[in-house]
C-alpha cells in the first residue's frame, strides 16, 4: 500500500509529522482525557448547547438545497480526482504563484514550516504579526515558534483571540472557543485586554454585541499597526495560482489586505484544479460549517498586485505527514476534508467530551481519522486511542459535504493499530487472545455451542450480584474487563437455553 507521489524535496518513504512539534497529539489517551472532560459540567453545557444550535441551523439550510446530494458527490469526486494527481497540480500551483509574483516554499514538516515562516518574518524586520484563523498554523505550533524567536503573533479571529487571551487551546475547527460561554469570555477580556493596552468599560456586560465591539476596538489598533500577516488557506486554484480564505468576520480580510507582507501556510491537500471547481465547494462549505447560505467574507488573491494589498506574498506548502496519508488507500480520503466541522457538531462523542480530549487541533470524527494518520500509529502512542473514540454511529458520514466515509476509515485504522501492536510485541495482548479464541469458536458450530454453554459461567462470575426475578435475572457486577460494562449498566443473565438449543430440542430442522 505505498504510492510514490514524486513531491518536490521528498525522496524516501513519506514521513509523518514532526514529533513533538505542533499540536497533533496530546499527552494522554482519549479515554483518560475524556473522563476528565465529562466531569466538567460547564463544558458539557456550553458544548451541548452550541453544537445543538449549529446542528439545527445546518440541517435547515442544507434541507433547502434540492441538489445537495449531487453537490456532495461532486465535491467527493473533485477531491478524489485532485488527490490522484496531486504532484502535478502542486507543481502547476507553484508555477502560477511564482508567475504572479509570489514565492513558494516547500515544508516537509512542522519544524521546517516554522523555520521558513520565522525567517521570512525576521527578514522584514517586524517584531509582530497578525494572524487569520488558520488550522495549519495551529497544527504546526507556529505561534510558539514565533514567540521563541521574539515575534508576537496576534490572533484576529474573535474565537481564536478568546482562546489566545485565555492561554487556552482551540477545541473546535470552526468555533475554537466553543467550550467557553459569554460570561467566561467577558472574564477573559477583563483579565487580559488592559495589559495589552485596551481599556475596558467598567460596566462591560456579557452581551455578545458589547463583547464583539470590545474585541473590535482591541483588534483595530493591531490591524493598522501590523506589517506582516500570516494566514492559512481554504483553497488554492492550481490553474490560476489563486489563494482563498473563507471567513465570517472580516478580520481575515483586514489581515489579507492591510499589511505589506502576507505569508500563507497551506496543507498540500487544499488545492483544487480549476477556478470553476470552487463553485462546488463554496456552496458546500458555508451551509455545512456555519449554517449560512453564502459565506460572508470570501477573500481571493493571486500573487501580488502593484499598489493594491500586500506587496510581498509567500506561500508555504506544508506536508507534515500528508504524503503518508495519501499513500494509504483507505485513509487518504481523510485528506478530502474542507474543515467545515459538521462532523464535530453531529458527533455524539464530541458533543459530550468536547475537543480537548482528542489532544489535537483536529478534534471530533475527522480528527480521529486525520490526527493518528498524520502522526503515525506506533502500537501504543497516545493517538492510537483516537480511532476507537467513536461508537461508529455514522452521523459524521451523513453530514460530510465531501462524503468522507469516516466510519470505514476508523475501522481500517483500528485494524492497522492492532496489526502494528501485534508486530511490536511477541506476546498477544489479552484482548487479541480473546478475539482469537472467539474467532476459533465462531468458525465451528460445535465449538460455538461449547462457548455458549461456557457463557453461562457468567452466573458464577457474577456471584452475589444478581437481581430481578426468575427468567429475567440481571447481573450487576462482573470482574474486569467486563466491569467497564457493569460499572454503569446491568447485563442480562445468560438464559438456561439458547435459541439453537430450543430449536434442536423441539426437533425442528
Amino acid at each position: 500500500m505505498t504510492t510514490f507521489l514524486g513531491l518536490p524535496s521528498v525522496g524516501q518513504a513519506p514521513a509523518r509529522s514532526s514529533p513533538g512539534v505542533g499540536h497533533l497529539q496530546g499527552s494522554e489517551s482519549f479515554p483518560t482525557a475524556a473522563r476528565r472532560a465529562l466531569g466538567d459540567t460547564q463544558l458539557r453545557s456550553n458544548i451541548g448547547r452550541a453544537t445543538t444550535t449549529i446542528r439545527g441551523k445546518r440541517a435547515r439550510v442544507v434541507g433547502e438545497v434540492p441538489d445537495w446530494e449531487e453537490l456532495r458527490e461532486a465535491g467527493r469526486t473533485l477531491k478524489a480526482a485532485t488527490m490522484s494527481r496531486l504532484p502535478e497540480l502542486l507543481a502547476q500551483l507553484e508555477e502560477q504563484v511564482t508567475a504572479q509574483g509570489g514565492t513558494v516554499h516547500w515544508a516537509r514538516d512542522a519544524a521546517e514550516a516554522n523555520a521558513i515562516v520565522t525567517a521570512l518574518v525576521q527578514a522584514t524586520g517586524a517584531s509582530e504579526v497578525v494572524k487569520v484563523k488558520s488550522m495549519a498554523t495551529q497544527e504546526i505550533g507556529l505561534n510558539e515558534a514565533l514567540e521563541a524567536a521574539g515575534i508576537d503573533a496576534w490572533e484576529t479571529d474573535l474565537a481564536e483571540l478568546i482562546v489566545q487571551l485565555g492561554h487556552d487551546l482551540p477545541s473546535h475547527i470552526l468555533v475554537p472557543a466553543i467550550h467557553r460561554n459569554r460570561s467566561e469570555i467577558r472574564e477573559i477580556f477583563r483579565r487580559e485586554m488592559p495589559g495589552l493596552g485596551t481599556e475596558l468599560p467598567p460596566d462591560l456586560t456579557d452581551e455578545p454585541r458589547e463583547l464583539a465591539m470590545t474585541a473590535r476596538r482591541h483588534l483595530r489598533r493591531t490591524f493598522l499597526r501590523a506589517q506582516v500577516a500570516i494566514s492559512g488557506a481554504n483553497f488554492a486554484v492550481a490553474e490560476t495560482g489563486t489563494l482563498s480564505v473563507v471567513e465570517s468576520e472580516g478580520n481575515g480580510r483586514m489581515c489579507l489586505t492591510l499589511p505589506k507582507t502576507l505569508i500563507t501556510v497551506m496543507g498540500i491537500e487544499k488545492l483544487v484544479p480549476t477556478w470553476q471547481d470552487l463553485e462546488v465547494f463554496l456552496q458546500l462549505l458555508p451551509r455545512s460549517s456555519t449554517g449560512e447560505r453564502m459565506n460572508p467574507y470570501t477573500s481571493m488573491w493571486t500573487g501580488v498586485t502593484p499598489g493594491d494589498g500586500p506587496q510581498e506574498f509567500h506561500l508555504v506548502l506544508l506536508d507534515n505527514g500528508r504524503t503518508a496519508v495519501l499513500a494509504d488507500e483507505v485513509g487518504r480520503e481523510a485528506l478530502h476534508c474542507i474543515r467545515c466541522s459538521a462532523c464535530l457538531n453531529v458527533c455524539p462523542v464530541y458533543e459530550r467530551t468536547g475537543g480537548h480530549a482528542y489532544g489535537s487541533v483536529y478534534p471530533g470524527p475527522i480528527g480521529a481519522v486525520l490526527s493518528p494518520q498524520l502522526t503515525g500509529m506506533t502500537g501504543d502512542a497516545v493517538n492510537d486511542s483516537l480511532p476507537y473514540a467513536s461508537s461508529l454511529c455514522g452521523a459524521c458520514y451523513d453530514v460530510c459535504p465531501v462524503k468522507i466515509d469516516i466510519p470505514s476509515i476508523l475501522v481500517e485504522l483500528r485494524a492497522q493499530h492492532v496489526e502494528t501492536a501485534a508486530r511490536a510485541s511477541r506476546l498477544p495482548t489479552p484482548e487479541a487472545a480473546a478475539m482469537k479464541a472467539a474467532a476459533v469458536a465462531m468458525t465451528s458450530p460445535v465449538r460455538w455451542r461449547l462457548a455458549q454453554r461456557a457463557s453461562r459461567l457468567g452466573r458464577l462470575l457474577a456471584r452475589g450480584s444478581r437481581t430481578g426475578t426468575a427468567g429475567e435475572r440481571r447481573i450487576r457486577s462482573l470482574p474486569p474487563p467486563l466491569s467497564a460494562w457493569t460499572g454503569t449498566r446491568d447485563l442480562p443473565e445468560p438464559p438456561a437455553e439458547t435459541f439453537r438449543e430450543r430449536w434442536a430440542r423441539e426437533g425442528r430442522a
Binding site: 479515554p31 475524556a34 473522563r35 465529562l38 455524539p348 462523542v349 459530550r352 467530551t353 480511532p387 476507537y388 473514540a389 467513536s390 461508537s391 461508529l392 454511529c393 455514522g394 452521523a395 458520514y397 470505514s408 475501522v411 481500517e412 483500528r414 485494524a415 492497522q416 493499530h417 492492532v418 496489526e419 487479541a432 478475539m435 482469537k436 472467539a438 474467532a439 465462531m442 468458525t443 458450530p445 460455538w448 455458549q452 457463557s455 430481578g468 440481571r474 450487576r476 467486563l482 467497564a484 460494562w485 460499572g487 454503569t488 449498566r489 446491568d490 447485563l491 442480562p492 445468560p494 438464559p495 437455553e497 439458547t498 435459541f499 439453537r500 430450543r502 430449536w503 425442528r508 430442522a509
Partner: protein, 259 residues
C-alpha cells in the same frame, strides 16, 4: 416463502426470545422459517475492534452457511449492516476477491426484519396487538447503514392497542458501539444517560428497537437506574397478539408473551 433465520450470536446466546418471536411472526404470516444450524456470528465485533484477520475466517464461515439460502433475515440492523457493508471489504482487504463476491451475493439476499416485512413481503399490518405505551429508538446502523427509514414505525403504527410515543432526539446514538462501551465506558455512559433521560421522559412503559445489542445497552442502564421502563425488541412486539394460543380477540396477555 422459505426464509432462513440468521439468529445473530448475541440474540442466540442472551436474548433467545427475540429470534423466537421472529419465527412466530413469520410463521403466523404463512412463511416457512429454516435455521441453518452451523451458523455462528457475522464477525462484526472482530472487524470493529480491529481484528480483521480473525474476522476473515468468521466471514467465510458465514458465507459458507448462508450461500445456499434464497432469503435470509436477521432481527438486527447492525448484523445485517455488517453483512452488507463489511463482509466484502474484509475479504478484499485480505486479497480474497472470490470470497468478496460470494459475500456480496449473500448480502444481497440478507434483510433486516423490518426490511423483509415491508420491502420483500409487502406487509405493514402483521396482526399484532400490544396494549402498552411504547417509544421507538431507531438504531444507528438500521438508520444510517441500512436506511430502513420509517419502516419499523410503519409496522408499529399498525399494532392494535399500542400507544406509540415519539422519542426526542431519537436519532442520537445510545452509546453502545460494541467494544466502544468498554473501551470508552465513560463517554458511552454519558451518551446512555441522555438516551435514558429521553426514554423516561416519554412516559413509555417499553422502549423498543430493531437491535438486541442497543437494547441490551439501553435496558442495562434503565434497569440499573431502576426506572421501571423495560426494553423489548421490535420482533417481540410484532409477534405479540391478543391470545397467542387461540387468537381470542379482546383479551390481552402480559408484555412479550411469545415464548
Amino acid at each position: 416463502m422459505r426464509i432462513a433465520l440468521f439468529v445473530t450470536c448475541l440474540a442466540d446466546t442472551l436474548f433467545p426470545a427475540v429470534p423466537q418471536a421472529t419465527v412466530t411472526l413469520l410463521e403466523r404470516l404463512g412463511h416457512e422459517v429454516v435455521f441453518p444450524a452451523a451458523q455462528t456470528c457475522c464477525g462484526q465485533m472482530h472487524v470493529n475492534t480491529g481484528y480483521q484477520g480473525d474476522a476473515l475466517a468468521v466471514v467465510r464461515h458465514h458465507v459458507d452457511v448462508f450461500e445456499g439460502c434464497e432469503v435470509v433475515v436477521a432481527p438486527s440492523g447492525s448484523c445485517v449492516g455488517s453483512v452488507r457493508h463489511q463482509h466484502a471489504r474484509v475479504a478484499r482487504r485480505a486479497g480474497d476477491e472470490a470470497l468478496a463476491q460470494r459475500a456480496e451475493a449473500v448480502a444481497a439476499r440478507t434483510y433486516e426484519l423490518s426490511e423483509l416485512l415491508v420491502d420483500v413481503l409487502g406487509v405493514e399490518d402483521v396482526g399484532a396487538s400490544f396494549p402498552h405505551r411504547v417509544t421507538y429508538h431507531p438504531t444507528c446502523h438500521s438508520l444510517r447503514m441500512l436506511r430502513v427509514d420509517d419502516k419499523p414505525l410503519r409496522l408499529l403504527r399498525q399494532v392494535r392497542g399500542m400507544e406509540l410515543v415519539e422519542l426526542p432526539q431519537a436519532e442520537s446514538c445510545c452509546g453502545f458501539g460494541g467494544t466502544f462501551a468498554l473501551k470508552n465506558a465513560d463517554t458511552s455512559t454519558a451518551m446512555l444517560a441522555d438516551k435514558m433521560r429521553h426514554v423516561v421522559g416519554t412516559g413509555a412503559e417499553v422502549c423498543t428497537a430493531g437491535d438486541s445489542s442497543c437494547l441490551m445497552h439501553i435496558g442495562g442502564g434503565l434497569s440499573r437506574m431502576q426506572t421501571g421502563v423495560r426494553t423489548l425488541h421490535l420482533a417481540e412486539i410484532l409477534a405479540a397478539t391478543d391470545d397467542p394460543v387461540a387468537g381470542v380477540a379482546g383479551e390481552t396477555v402480559p408484555v412479550g408473551v411469545v415464548r
